[in-house]
Symmetry: C2
Subunit: 334 residues, 2 copies
DNA sequence: AATTCATTTGGCAGCGCTGCCAAAAGGTCA
DNA sequence: TGACCTTTTGGCAGCGCTGCCAAATGAATT
């Protein structure tokens, strides 16, 4: 137990073969349940495997057979429930097919994403799953090299590299605006977080503003904090926004974390929801549906997106874009 | 573009060597910046690498050099912020040292954890990071095989296999009880989730009850739902608990998700907090600190735990248990 | 018993890279 | 100029496994 990863006495296939008194290829066939062998042989081999505590070496197996059972996944963050759900869906799908997820976090940084993609490709993964359609040119070039299938998840507003699984991001913003407009709200503000990093949040806002424009309106005011989204940032953003524009009758938040923060501010201040102020979020977050008044939001099938992306990427499906849709949840705050 | 992961025309080290007019080992040395070579040679090699778009094959490299730069991480869930934070910490640490995280989700199932460990070991990882100290015997046996360093995270209440990084789980329960007792609460209930799967939640409850016992008290009532924790389960659990035992003056929740659900129930019902009912959670969850009244809870350094576990496992540190401690956050609900 | 065919098995050449060693090239000094 | 030392370089044998092919075995048929 010296602490170094020296693999003291690793048992190899050849040793198992010798112990079982069969050839190496026979052991390999039995272990992979591939090709034919007699029941007697199988028992002999399995006995030796268990007795010696043999653990197959995927590194060698992959090298020999060309084509790994690894799948690279790059997400912007672990903390955002959106990506946690996507990862969950993807893991589920991978589990079934005997693949392993190699996961990296880009922290919403395209350069980090590029670096992660490069290092993942060096493991010759069967597929790479990414969030969104925005990548550096070099990342694109590496991915189109042809080695691995590529699935871009969550956003379908634009051309993809291979597989694209998601929903129309800008359209979610438009739908949110239409919902508020249909309920008669006219003096609408926006509370958001770092839009330069979170390009999908920026697309939602663009769609939202476009729909307001169609109705002859503009965003009355906005507060955008250059930091990641959180309950706190939503609360403080709404606080600032209302200080500047007390006459707003509705606020669109960049996501449900932010909206929950706004909701808490209203609770603390005794601001009547939705009569005095309507709130609209984005994500269908668990906690936002269970506040005393469920928060109006957009629900997207995130787990399904991860699952479908993984399935398609591993099934050899042709390059395509799959729109899984989204749903407006009316809630009680708008 | 037939969709199969065939790696159309993969460039190999040998091809780069030929293109640069040098030997294979020279290319290898330059690429790994290891051993000596002249500046002129380096430029020639790098030019060829870029021109051909060479991507090193880690599979082959690892096989040849014995010892991979993969680190296996098995967590019970992606959705629970605790593990998201631990993963974030671990990823950060791995990033710096040029390692890749291979992540699996056990869904709180020891058998699945065992299967994941087995399949990760077949990638000959440098280390394996796990949540908690509870594992199947076979999992333990595989892990002590010596191939990879092992770090068990979050819980230090018991013997570990190698490295253990966390805090005294039962003691968090005791501290929670002492806090409530010090504030004068005596009729205390518990609202929890699936304790057979979440063994750490069970340990917290055991500690909590032990501290009550020290004060000559017992848990007045409890509601335990056999499902994963969520805001909704906490809300409904408190609802049931209060229907049965309306005279409780405080409730301990299995975690902050659950406590937030309870808090929302109180808001809806107009139950005065903490005068009529005190609430105590566990986790130091973002949203629980931002409710109009911050929820009393225990904060643990989760990101730090992931980071430290990864660092120690990769640094060749001797087997040891590191207690990173925890903190009682008084909040406004107890 | 001889022939044919299907099933089961073993041998061995790589997969692409690294580590080791020996050889070549370059520098220094007498 | 030649001996000696240092730096740089190339060759090649594996790492542990899989895929291919040929050989051995067994069953069925004439």
């Amino acid at each position: 137990m010296d602490g170094r990863g020296k693999t003291a006495a690793t048992v190899t296939l050849a040793e198992v073969a010798a112990a079982a008194g069969v050839g190496e290829s026979t052991v390999s066939r039995v272990l992979r349940n591939h090709g034919s062998f007699s029941a007697k042989t199988r028992d002999r081999v399995m006995e030796a495997v268990n007795r010696l505590g043999y653990v197959p070496n995927m590194i060698a197996g992959t090298l020999a057979s060309a084509g790994s059972r690894l799948v690279g996944i790059v997400v912007p963050s672990f903390s955002n429930i959106v990506f946690a759900d996507v990862l969950r869906g993807a893991s589920q799908a991978l589990e079934g097919s005997g693949h392993q997820a190699v996961i990296g976090v880009s922290d919403y940084d395209p350069a980090r994403e590029e670096a992660l993609i490069a290092s993942m490709l060096s493991w010759r993964p069967a597929a790479i799953l990414l969030a969104g359609l925005e990548h550096t040119d070099r990342a694109r070039a590496m991915l189109t090299g042809g080695g691995a299938r590529v699935a871009e998840m969550l956003d379908i507003d634009g051309p993809g590299l291979d597989l694209v699984v998601g929903f129309a991001t800008a359209e979610t913003g438009r739908a949110s605006a239409r919902h508020l407009l249909a309920r008669g709200y006219r003096r609408i503000g926006y509370v958001g977080h770092d839009l330069t990093r979170d390009t999908r949040a920026a697309k939602r806002l663009a769609g939202f503003e476009a729909a307001l424009g169609d109705a002859g309106l503009v965003l009355a005011d906005r507060d955008v904090a250059p930091v990641p989204s959180s309950v706190e940032v939503g609360r403080d953003g709404l606080d600032r926004l209302l200080a500047r524009s007390p006459d707003l009758d509705a606020v669109y938040f960049s996501n449900d974390d932010m909206a929950v923060g706004g909701y808490f501010l209203c609770l603390s201040r005794g601001i009547a929801i939705p009569d005095r102020l309507a709130l609209f979020g984005y994500n269908g977050l668990d906690v936002a549906r269970l506040t005393p008044q469920p928060i109006a939001t957009i629900r997207t099938p995130r787990v399904r997106i991860g699952e479908l992306a993984a399935q398609l990427a591993l099934s050899g499906a042709p390059a395509q874009t799959v729109d899984v849709g989204f749903e407006v949840i009316a809630g009680a705050t708008a």
